[in-house]
């Protein structure tokens, strides 16, 4: 009896601490990226809102030109339905809202799958759930930490909008919508991590939900008259909220309810399955070995890339098929609004034709194509730190040959992915009978390849110098460059600032001829980045953790 009484205070002290320890571990795992994210999101919003008056005053034709421009389906597809453009708040929501929602969603997915399935893959998760807390409780605490980040980002966005002088109701609704979108995708990532037993599969499945949600919103944005579809997508629901215009609360309540359910299901499922396994059963083996593509490192790299390539191709293909189909609404719009082409051209946007529309949409292709290429290098880095690579590099081949073989496979797969996007667009555009030929469309797709390869080069550089930041550094030329240009254009920055972004140097193919010099320069840049990374990787010690 005495012993139990003596022990009791110790146990009571330990229990609450284990929860804090789990949360502390989660905070340590994500804090750096989270800080960058929150600052970037709030900063982007603040810059656009603060410079609104100046930009509109400087635009040829002022708000009116902008209003005409945004009736363009291509612009609407990209940025969402433009509302209340005559206010700083409305303009900021339209110009940055979609991009920030995608960034928050992507961050939440990657963080949730990393902390849940990634840790479970390495066996570390078992250490965490072996403590005094149940698996559901551990999952809930980690998820709460992840969820805090989009919430902080939303608070930050609201705060800078209020400081910039926009109406507080709109600011709160916009910030809440962004936070909820991030939360929803944290739930999607966490749930996906419970379903699949491998991190790559969990990331792939969760990531597929994001462009699917975007597509649903794009279709629902009135282009095809299917507005109600927007209630099925987080991006659509935040658009329905229409901050600074209609300020509707109901869509956010729907989003909050669905998000709460997804988060709760993820936590519950976590406690009702075997650690180390996914809810979806995976075959434990196969009696007949698949021996193809196991002959050389290059062959093995090709074998490893196959499944992810099919996944990315399906996603990117579906997206550009739909974008191709949407050209019909553009041609219809152009015949109905003869005056528009003139206005748009004067405003400096090459969106007055189907070819201009294709060029604008293809610029987006560099983001997934670059992401795919960067992911190949991330996989290589994961193989290195998990010590799998030691088995291959004990073979009689140099690291240079090994890495070059892997880069070659990544480049080939990225080229094919770009081709799939072009063909899908051509197919969609062909069905609705637009004046674009397949050759023109493919030229538009491949025109963006150098930007994607810049991302690959940056990723290889990171592999050599900062292997823990491959994802971040690899995204700098593509995602970073895209956002840079959006912000620079939104705030009316000088030309040389715009020119920092590789997207500023992309000719609007097929509306314009290919800028071979710019393309060659970007390719050269990616080769240089890759070369420096290769030289560093060749010389440094292989990582073991």
């Amino acid at each position: 009896m005495n012993a139990i009484t003596a022990d009791a205070p110790v146990v009571q002290r330990v229990l609450p601490r284990s929860g804090a320890a789990i949360a502390g571990w989660a905070v340590r795992s994500i804090r750096r990226g989270a800080l960058v994210l929150v600052v970037a999101v709030a900063g982007m919003t603040g810059v656009v809102a603060a410079t609104y008056a100046e930009v509109i005053a400087g635009a040829p034709g002022g708000v009116d030109s902008l209003r005409a421009l945004v009736q363009n389906p291509a612009i609407r597809t990209l940025f969402g339905e433009p509302l209340a453009l005559d206010t700083a708040g409305g303009f900021t929501v339209w110009r940055t809202g979609a991009a920030i929602a995608v960034i928050l969603g992507m961050w939440s997915i990657l963080s949730a799958t990393r902390l849940f399935r990634g840790e479970e893959d390495t066996g570390r998760w078992a250490l965490l759930v072996a403590g005094t807390l149940s698996t559901t409780a551990v999952t809930a605490r980690v998820l709460a930490v992840i969820a805090a980040v989009p919430v902080l980002a939303g608070v930050g966005v609201t705060a800078v909008l209020v400081v910039a002088g926009t109406p507080s109701l709109g600011a709160v609704l916009h910030g809440t919508g962004l936070a909820l979108t991030g939360l929803a995708f944290a739930g999607v990532g966490a749930l996906s991590a419970q379903l699949f037993s491998r991190r790559a599969a969990a990331v792939g499945a969760a990531t597929a939900v994001l462009p699917a949600g975007l597509l649903v919103r794009m279709v629902g944005d009135g282009v095809l008259g299917l507005g109600r579809l927007r209630w099925l997508s987080p991006f659509g629901l935040t658009a329905e909220t229409a901050p600074f215009y209609a300020d509707r609360l109901a869509p956010l309540l729907v989003l909050a309810a669905v998000t709460a359910v997804v988060l709760a299901v993820a936590c519950t499922v976590a406690g009702h399955r075997d650690i180390g396994e996914g809810l979806l059963p995976e075959r434990a083996g196969r009696s007949r070995a698949h021996l193809c593509l196991l002959r050389s490192p290059k062959g093995f790299a090709a074998r490893t890339v196959m499944a992810p390539w099919v996944g990315w191709s399906l996603g990117v293909g579906a997206f550009f098929l739909l974008i191709g189909l949407l050209t019909v609404s553009l041609t219809g719009f152009l015949t109905d609004n003869a005056a528009f082409a003139d206005l748009a051209t004067r405003a400096g946007f090459g969106l007055d034709t189907a070819a201009g529309y294709a060029a604008t949409m293809f610029a987006l292709l560099a983001l997934p194509a670059g992401g795919f290429a960067v992911a190949r290098i991330s996989v290589l880095a994961a193989d290195e730190s998990s010590r799998r690579l030691a088995l291959l590099l004990a073979a009689p081949l140099t690291r240079t040959r090994f890495l070059v073989a892997n880069i070659a496979v990544a480049v080939a797969a990225t080229v094919l992915l770009t081709g799939v996007a072009g063909l899908a667009f051509a197919l969609g555009a062909g069905v609705v009978d637009t004046p674009l030929g397949p050759g023109q469309v493919l030229a538009g797709a491949f025109n963006t390849l150098p930007v994607a390869l810049l991302g690959l080069g940056a990723a290889v550089l990171a592999l050599g110098w900062a292997p823990r930041f491959i994802g971040f550094i690899g995204a700098v030329p593509t995602v970073g460059g895209f956002l840079w240009l959006v912000i620079a254009q939104s705030v009316g920055a000088p030309r040389w600032i715009e020119n920092v972004s590789p997207f500023a140097h992309l000719a609007a193919v097929p509306a314009e001829p290919v800028d071979w010099a710019a393309g060659a320069l970007m390719l050269l840049g990616s080769v240089a980045l890759g070369g420096v990374g290769l030289a560093a990787w060749r010389r440094r010690d292989l990582r073991t953790a």
Partner: protein
């Protein structure tokens, strides 16, 4: 034949003043000079963190030494394209591609490696009781180790570098491992075996190098280490305990409880046994301490 190539090239492994620093504070290896003759089974002993894996990673060109040089079969360790034609490697803590089955992993490692004897590999799969149809993600750590061991033993590389290869194997599989090491020795392959288990080294090795805190403490034949062996003697008495402390070769005399005498002894046992027998013992136990205990004593001295 690989073995002839090896004799021409001199030692299977040679290092000169090998040092490895991690940052400013950690000195993982400190001037290690090591020579391993071809055809030997060479044990590389040391406690955790002694620098065994660091040495091996340098030998395989996966880490660069901060100072000093290393050769594998006469080829500089950094020239991996040539050196790795002569080496098969089993890393500590084997990680495999989770989506590949055992058979697929063996196929991949066999194809990229220095050449493989497929018939012997099939035999090894049987002997190690490996189910090659399962995906690596379902393998236990012991099974992953078996895959890497089978892949390494099935090569005809003149040098096998094995980094703590039996840490996950059960005793039965450890026997198979020792058997496979014996077969490699018969074929003339050199085996470089890092371990912190003396029993394993005692069972299979010809020579042993002892590494401690990044420094080579000693290199000796295993039989020479065994000459350090001593007897641990324990005897129980109903009456008074005889006094043996003054006898030659006797040390560490103690009386753990009344009527029990414990001592350690080296050299010819006659005088001690006579003295113990004279006191009318109730029981007598003579035990040879494991190499482990000898080794620990050895370390204890090196520590000071």
């Amino acid at each position: 034949m690989p073995s002839t190539a090896l004799t021409d090239a001199g030692p299977a492994i040679r290092t000169e003043g090998l040092s490895k620093r991690y940052g400013r504070r950690v000195l993982a290896l400190d001037g290690v000079d090591l020579t391993v003759s071809p055809g030997q089974v060479f044990g590389f002993l040391g406690p955790n963190g002694a620098g065994k894996s660091t040495t091996i990673r340098i030998l395989l060109g996966m880490s660069r030494p901060s100072a000093g040089r290393a050769w594998v079969c006469g080829v500089p360790a950094s020239d991996v394209r040539r050196a790795h034609r002569l080496v098969a490697y089993v890393p500590a803590d084997v990680a495999l591609w989770p989506q590949l089955t055992g058979a697929e992993t063996l196929e991949l490692l066999g194809n990229v490696g220095p050449g493989v004897d497929t018939a012997y590999r099939a035999e090894l799969v049987e002997r190690f009781e490996l189910d090659p149809s399962r995906r690596a993600r379902t393998y236990s750590s012991g099974n992953r180790q078996k895959v890497a061991l089978v892949a390494a033993f099935a090569t005809r590389a003149p040098l096998l570098v094995l980094d703590e290869p039996t840490s996950g194997l059960d005793p039965l599989m450890e026997q198979q491992f020792q058997h496979a090491v014996g077969e490699a020795r018969e074929r003339g392959q050199t085996v470089f075996l890092s371990s912190h288990q003396l029993a394993e080294v005692e069972a299979v090795c010809d020579r042993v190098a002892i590494l401690r805190a990044g420094r080579l403490v000693d290199v000796a034949a295993v039989s020479a280490l065994r000459s350090l062996h001593r007897n641990e003697i324990e005897a129980g008495y109903a009456g008074p305990v005889p006094d043996v402390a003054a006898l030659a070769g006797v040390a560490h005399v103690e009386t753990p409880r009344p009527g029990v005498l414990r001592l350690s002894h080296t050299g010819p046992p006659g005088p001690v046994l006579r003295a113990l027998a004279a006191g009318d013992p109730q029981f007598l136990r003579i035990r040879e301490p494991s190499l482990e205990e000898i080794f620990l004593g050895y370390y204890g001295e090196a520590d000071r």
